[in-house]
């Protein structure tokens, strides 16, 4: 059999096609989980009772008043759970808690005939709370040493000695904000006990298998008695990897207890206040450079805000530690990671999964230090790139490091950076109140789950007698175009047209024991599994064709629905005819496919190994214009060169790159989670719990000129049709926007000055950064002795 990366002639992969559901999307006929209840009758609606305390003990729970509200059918409490009262995999997330761990924590759920009755029922439930001391800031958690989980260190060389000997040494601290997923479709589950007695769960979930397992353990059933289906999601971004399970379990518990279908659909307020977000981080760092600006050492401590339970925090932290190097060779390094335990939502997976926070730190270091080293920031970055033969701090060789340099050079050329720098200097010299600047940053992102066991996938491919094909795989569709790519893979592998491949919704009774669709790995894993299934069928069909054509099976070719011998241009057998022949010869026309990523190993205790199949490389140039009166800014242009291997589906990949970039820009510039940190009644309450207070990027944040280029001739060996993952890496390219804003703020002040910029870099944050720069310029304008600042240790706070 040919290798996984090889493409046949005339492949369907690589063709730019629209999303496979695009026609359904635009006509409003694509169905999502919460479009199903109105197509059923007798449905009960659920509403949570959310606690108004950051931390409290539940001393009494009286549900009787709710039962008196017209339309209320039942109140679900811990006493109703026949199995295990837990919504997570680590048994630290009680589904119905007796101790409130964050403001808004759901203590019980009301089921009623209408959402309105359920809401009124929830208001009628009486709960007595004994308030307890709470921790609602990362700083407070660090001071009180409130941590959870392991505290791993990634280390190589002797960071302490190298820092002591470094020609230039700097230090700083920085806080990195979290991010709300704000998928447009909030969490939704719809559960009934079907005609065969199984618990049938419709859930908007990235991880149907885990949803199935949690529902089963809450109900005290086996996994075989529960089926989870995910039609499609209206966005997920990691927010539906762990978080859907509890909501599905509530609906399933209600459905089994009442015998009626139960709908759990969070409104936006509930979704934002109940579910976890991207981890905020605090970082302190010390960096040493030689006289050429080469990093000789980095010592840092990264503390993530994990919220009230562990959830995926340990894995997120591991990925942060594995990406603090980003694209840079750091010979001596020692980075400690910690997870704070706070009274907030349990922070969770979000596109990039810790990678963005890790990269943020090193880009902050370079952005802060470049002026003090007298170097253009992008030149400082380039000088520190990995070169072939080097390894990451965790011991993985940086394969294809030369590609990083090639991507960078191509980007600078395509984006016309040299000429634009001159134009920008001219613009800045002639505009008193505006400053423009470029930010250029690279991305090197490791692909595969850090947790090795997740790197496996299954698929089910059926060929029917009429030649039509039905595929199932373990991945879920959240808008990323996975299903589109999987249809292209199947069409390519079977040599049939795209139109003849139908893809059925993801469900756990078709493909069991699946991994989350996450870590950018959906296409790599499931594509290889589909390819495996298709190859089995094609090989069997090749034997049938070979007999008919009187040639060797190796010489049979499948192309666009016609089966021929090698070199034949006529005498083709239509695929459907061959399939029919095969059936009458009693040849199996379906197959289960399987794939495990080879060559991975990871020692989580030592933080050493080769956790990644490969690295994805990319780089971006962003140009911003900042208004000196307000700190408001515009993203004038963004150029990206991205290595996606040989693209499976270029239109889909460009969509992922552009969307990831803008989402990252939102995280870094606009999206600002604010919790009430006062000692008052609302301590711990999320103040930004709606679309009017939590602002996502809109059209006004789109780069006005947006140019994405896919790096060419980039075949990745050992990966499905030579492609590379694309889901997460582009998000981190938005660091170029933050660095451009830093440089633009700096341009209001004197040269050689390190600029502090708060995150997110809102107009207010940029205003204070430029205001400090302007003040420094006024002071520098005073005569004598202020030239050439000497590089010296700086404290960022």
């Amino acid at each position: 059999m040919k290798s996984l990366a090889d493409r046949p002639v005339n492949p369907v992969v690589g063709v730019p096609v629209a999303h496979e559901s695009a026609a359904l999307h635009v006509t409003g006929t694509a169905l999502y989980t919460d479009d199903l209840p109105i197509r059923n009758s007798d449905v009960l609606h659920a509403w949570p009772v959310q606690a108004p305390h950051a931390h409290a003990r539940v001393t009494a729970l009286r549900t009787a008043p709710a039962l008196g509200v017209p339309g209320v059918a039942r109140v679900l409490t811990a006493a109703d759970v026949p199995g295990i009262n837990d919504s997570g995999t680590k048994h630290d997330e009680p589904l119905f808690p007796s101790e409130v761990m964050y403001y808004g924590h759901a203590v019980c759920w009301v089921l009623a005939e209408t959402p309105e009755a359920a809401r009124l029922g929830a208001e009628a439930v009486e709960v007595d709370y004994e308030p307890l001391a709470s921790i609602v800031t990362l700083a407070d958690a660090i001071e009180k040493q409130s941590f959870q989980g392991d505290q791993p260190t990634v280390a190589r060389g002797d960071a302490g000695a190298a820092l002591a000997a470094a020609a230039h040494r700097f230090s700083g601290e920085v806080e990195i904000g979290g991010q709300e997923h704000f998928y447009l479709e909030t969490h939704a589950s719809f559960v009934y006990v079907d005609e065969s007695g199984q618990v049938f769960v419709h859930s908007s979930t990235q991880h149907p298998t885990e949803t199935q397992e949690i529902v089963a353990h809450v109900l005290g059933l086996t996994s075989s008695q529960v089926t989870v289906q995910c039609l499609r999601m209206g966005g997920a971004f990691g927010g539906k990897e762990m978080q859907p399970h509890g909501f599905a379990a509530v609906a399933a518990l209600g459905a089994t207890l009442t015998g009626r279908p139960v709908r759990v659909r969070l409104n936006r307020t509930q979704d934002i206040t109940l579910t976890g977000k991207r981890h905020p981080f605090a970082a302190s760092w010390e960096a040493g450079f030689d006289d050429d600006g080469r990093l000789v050492a980095l010592r840092a401590t990264l503390t993530s805000d994990g919220g009230w339970s562990l959830d995926l925090s340990q894995h997120v932290l591991a990925r942060a530690l594995c990406h603090i190097d980003n694209a840079y060779w750091i010979p001596n390094i020692e980075v400690l990671g910690r997870i704070a335990k706070t009274n907030k939502t349990s922070q969770t997976a979000f596109r990039g999964f810790g990678g963005p926070q890790g990269m943020f730190v090193i880009e902050e270091v370079l952005g802060r230090c470049a002026p003090l080293l007298g170097l253009e920031p992008s030149e400082l970055r380039r000088r520190n790139f990995y070169t072939p033969g080097q390894s990451t701090p965790y011991g993985q060789p940086v394969r294809h490091a030369e590609r990083l340099h090639a991507v960078w050079e191509q980007l600078l050329g395509r984006a016309d950076v040299e000429r634009r720098r001159t134009d920008i200097a001219d613009f800045n010299a002639t505009h008193r109140h505006l400053r423009r600047a470029l930010g250029v940053t690279p991305v090197k992102f490791g692909i595969s789950f850090n947790l090795t066991a997740f790197n496996q996938a299954g698929a089910l491919v059926h060929v029917y007698k009429d030649g039509s094909v039905l595929i199932n795989h373990g991945g879920t569709e959240m808008g990323q175009g996975l299903h589109t790519k999987m249809r292209q893979v199947a069409a390519t592998a079977l040599g049939v047209s795209l139109a003849s491949i139908r893809l059925a919704p993801t469900r756990t009774d078709k493909v069991p024991n699946t991994s989350a669709t996450a870590a950018s790995s959906g296409a790599d894993l499931n594509g290889a599994a589909i390819r495996n299934a298709c190859d089995q069928i094609r090989d069997r069909l090749a034997e049938v064709a070979a007999r008919k054509l009187n040639i060797h099976p190796d010489d049979v070719r499948f192309d666009d629905g016609t089966v021929t011998g090698i070199g034949f241009s006529d005498d083709g057998i239509p695929f459907a005819e061959l399939v029919n022949d095969a059936y009458f010869q009693r040849v199996s026309l379906w197959a289960a496919g399987y794939y495990r990523t080879p060559g991975l190993h990871w020692d989580a205790a030592r933080m050493q190994g080769e956790p990644f199949k490969y690295f994805t490389y990319a780089a971006a140039v962003s140009e911003v214009e900042v208004d000196g009166f307000t700190g408001a800014y515009r993203l004038l242009r963004a150029d990206i060169v991205h290595d996606v291997g040989d693209s499976l589906s270029p239109l889909i990949d460009v969509g992922q790159i552009e969307g990831g970039f803008v989402q990252g820009a939102g995280w870094l510039t606009l999206e600002d989670l604010r919790w009430d940190v006062s000692e008052g009644q609302r301590r711990g309450r999320l103040d930004t719990q709606s679309a009017s207070t939590y602002k996502l990027p809109s059209f006004s944040e789109m780069p006005e000129d947006f140019r994405v280029h896919l790096f060419e001739r980039a075949t990745e060996s050992g990966v499905i049709y030579g492609s590379k993952a694309v889901g997460e890496p582009p998000l981190m390219l938005a660091l170029s926007v933050r660095e451009a804003l830093r440089s633009a703020a700096a341009a209001f002040g004197p040269d050689g000055r390190s600029v502090e910029l708060a995150s997110p870099a809102t107009p207010e944050a940029v205003y204070w950064a430029l205001d400090r720069a302007r003040t420094a310029a006024r002071e520098a304008a005073r005569p004598a002795g202020m030239d050439a600042p000497v590089p010296a240790p700086v404290r960022a706070k």
Binding site: A22, L184, E185, F237, H433, L651, I652, V654, L696
Partner: protein, 503 residues
């Protein structure tokens, strides 16, 4: 009275006996039209957007995009609504040729990823597609759109497409997946509607009239009064009634704070509240005209308001929200108040006992408080003429499109031979109610409009109001923005060539 009913996608659907609290979105979804989605329930995301046939001048109709998550379904009694399902006029999946042009461009250019926001985008885009003023022939050369990957180049930096498409028509729609570029390309690729396009032809005929609806369910009454007399008399008898125009604020109260007013009085189609009169010494603007209607009606006659309109929420909101609603809710961060204060506006308060005129500067009395008495209704806003000639409106917010002000400032100066003869400055976001910056006005009047004057006035302006720290901004930033606004105003209105105008 006729049975309550709404025409959706060309078919009449009865809605007898529905609750006045049932929103248009939930009613549509319960009818099986689940294309429109709830993304935020407060008119911020546009996933629920639909088209409604609204009056457009003499005997014509304008397809108007609105959020379906905010208004009650009963407010659409007798009206015509089109959803994403209706644009293509068929069931289930269909081929590209069967799609509406807006749907086709969105689908083929990668304008949808997860697809959840897409039906709303399609409706907002369709409204702009049919906008009568849009010049689809392209006054300039056609700008190529698309991505290099599929052999096309990107659109250049424009917020109006080569096809006359105004991108701000999509400012009320959020997408979390695409990063918007393919949606912009889809919008800019649209041609003119075909001559026989049924929705285009529908605009040639009058919009449905508003019917005097009366309904009562779930302890709530919904009444659309037939006349001012009926409205004012109902208001006198029920001073706690919820007066409803565009529902852009009242709908949020219903959805997020679960308010359930006992009586809702729909006033948005009452003709006496929808006048726009250009007199010799004043402009009168009816309080039930939507901001979009006011913008079209004034047609650039009040430059300060032309600066305000694009910054006021989004097109979806401006298509429903009214001046009356914005002033009646009296939010300290409402955006019309600063502009109207600078324009020296007054309001007409009407009741069964007659009318009175109150200067807007005396209208607000505290946090969401005003001199409006129980039983009184805001009937009109008066703008005195001639207008001050040197004006500006500055809104400071995190996001340029569709955000809520941290601070907004409006300036109106009269200059005589370079000297400031009068100054009116309105502000929001710096006190419990919108304010005039009286001390700064005083610091300006009688002085030449020079950089020195601006710097001095900025120092005074920084001390106006009593700003606080909140999730949108710190008090310190708000004060700084007050001062900077004076410097910015000077930079933009003085003749010095070195001072550019921010785009």
């Amino acid at each position: 009275m006729d049975a309550t009913q709404i025409t959706v996608n060309g078919s009449i659907r009865p809605c007898e006996g529905i609750s006045p609290n049932l929103r248009l979105l939930d009613w549509l979804r319960a009818e099986g039209l689940t294309g429109a989605k709830e993304g935020c329930a407060e008119g911020e995301c546009g996933a629920c957007a639909v088209l409604v046939a609204r009056p457009d001048g003499d005997g014509r109709t304008r397809w108007t995009s609105v959020n379906a998550c905010l208004p009650p379904a009963l407010a659409f009694d007798g009206q015509e609504v089109v959803t994403a399902e209706g644009l293509g006029m068929a069931d289930g999946a269909r081929t590209a040729e069967e799609l509406h042009p807006v749907q086709r461009e969105m689908a083929e250019r990668g304008g949808s990823q997860c697809g959840y926001c897409t039906p709303g985008f399609v409706c907002s885009m369709a409204a702009e597609y049919y906008r009568p003023e849009r010049d689809a022939t392209g006054s300039g050369d056609r700008v190529e759109t698309g991505t290099a990957v599929v052999g096309e180049e990107h659109a250049s930096d424009h917020e109006t497409g080569p096809n006359g498409f105004d991108l701000s028509s999509l400012s009320g729609n959020l997408c979390r997946c695409t990063g918007y570029r393919p949606i912009r390309d889809a919008a800019y690729a649209l041609g003119a509607p075909a001559e026989n396009d049924p929705l285009l032809r529908r605009q040639d005929r009058p919009a449905p009239v508003a019917r005097p609806t009366k309904a009562a369910e779930d302890g709530t009454r919904f009444i659309r009064p037939d006349s001012m007399e009926e409205l004012l008399s109902l208001l006198e008898q029920n001073p706690d009634a919820q007066v409803l125009a565009g529902a852009t604020d009242a709908g949020v109260e219903v959805n997020l704070r679960h308010s359930r007013p006992p009586l809702v009085l729909a006033v948005d189609r009452l003709e006496p509240l929808r006048v726009l009169t250009l007199g010799p010494d004043r402009i009168e603007i009816g309080t039930a005209l939507t901001l979009s209607e006011v913008e079209r009606g004034l047609a650039g006659r009040v430059p300060l308001l032309d600066q305000l309109f694009p910054q006021f929420a989004s097109r979806l909101i401006r298509n429903a929200a009214t001046l009356g609603g914005n002033l009646a809710t009296g939010s300290p961060i409402g955006d019309t108040a600063p502009a109207l204060l600078a324009l020296d506006a007054s309001v007409i308060l009407a009741s069964t006992g007659g009318e009175r005129e109150v200067p807007l500067a005396e209208y607000f009395t505290g946090y969401r408080q005003s001199v409006r008495r129980p039983g009184e209704l805001l009937r009109a806003v008066h703008l005195p003429l001639p207008l001050a000639e040197t004006t500006a409106f500055y809104k400071i917010a995190k996001r340029r499109f569709d955000d809520i002000s941290s601070v907004a400032v409006a300036f109106a100066l009269r200059l005589e031979y370079g000297t400031i003869a009068s100054a009116r400055i309105g502000m929001n976001g710096v006190a419990a109610m919108p304010l005039r910056a009286l001390r700064t006005e005083e610091a300006l009047v009688g002085r030449p409009w020079t950089e020195e004057t601006a710097v001095d006035a900025a120092a005074v302006m920084e001390t106006e109001g009593t700003p606080i720290d909140d999730l949108r901004a710190t008090a310190r930033y708000r004060s700084a923005m007050l001062g900077q606004s004076v410097l910015r105003f000077y930079a933009q209105t003085s003749a010095a060539p070195a001072l550019e105008v921010t785009r």
